[in-house]
Amino acid sequence: MPNTLDAVDPMVVALCAHVAEALPPAVLVRFQICLSEALTNVVKHAGAPASAVIDVDATINPDAVLIELFEAEGANPFDPRDHAVDLAALDPLAESGRGIGLILHCADAVEYSAPDGPARLSLTFKRDQTGDLE
């Protein structure tokens, strides 16, 4: 997808449609929130030019759905796990700062690696659960 904010929503909608049959409805809600926040974060904060491209792979495995976001060439490495935010501890009247917390809260597993090529953010969503998280 293009490295632009207006490309995020269409990609999220397309990914939700792609995995809709593979995830329970409650997990699909978390999936949508997580993907929206992750893609928005990459576009807004990775520092890559608007002409750059973010590759997104979706794999439906027997036990989980795996999403891999390959950040654009030239993006600044950003491991969300290093910037964990406890949503419960955040000022409820804060106007920003929830995105990373939502990514970590809504995915069942978050991995990040930055090898020689584009950095990869991996998000895992288990298929055999109700999905409700508090």
Binding site: L5, D6, V8, D9, A26, V29, Q32, I33, S36, E37, T40, K44, L87, A88, L90, P92, L93, A94, E95, S96, R98, G99, L102, H105, C106, L133
Partner: protein, 114 residues
């Protein structure tokens, strides 16, 4: 982008005018509602009845509007579908905003409170 409906006792119902309130349009939404407040609106109901998804930027914009209203008025929300309600719950926004099932219910309550 927003659509408004005026009710007695200076109550204004605001519909965001988008299906998804996200980073791409949250600032425009906030700016539009803040303009209403600056024009004198103080009893505001944000009707999410046609909104299917809200991200953290959308919630941030809503919080910004709430802070702009401050103690001079009231701001409540209504019409949250299950997905939007879960987003509110995860982000503890259900503790910040009074939530009504419908715009009619919210209008009635705000009118009673005046």
């Amino acid at each position: 982008m927003i659509h408004t409906t005026q009710h007695p006792k200076d109550i204004t119902v605001v519909r965001p005018g988008v299906e998804r309130l996200t980073a791409v349009n949250a600032k425009a939404f906030k700016d539009a509602v803040v303009a209403l407040i600056e024009d004198g609106a103080s009893q505001l109901i944000i009707d999410f009845g046609t909104v299917t998804f809200v991200d953290s930027s959308g919630l941030g914009a809503l919080v910004g509007v709430l802070k702009r209203v401050g103690h001079r008025g009231d701001l409540v929300v209504c019409g949250l579908n299950a997905d939007v309600a879960q987003m509110f719950q995860i982000c503890r926004m259900d503790k910040v905003f009074t939530v009504y099932t419908s715009a009619d219910a919210a209008v009635q309550k705000l009118a009673e409170n005046q």
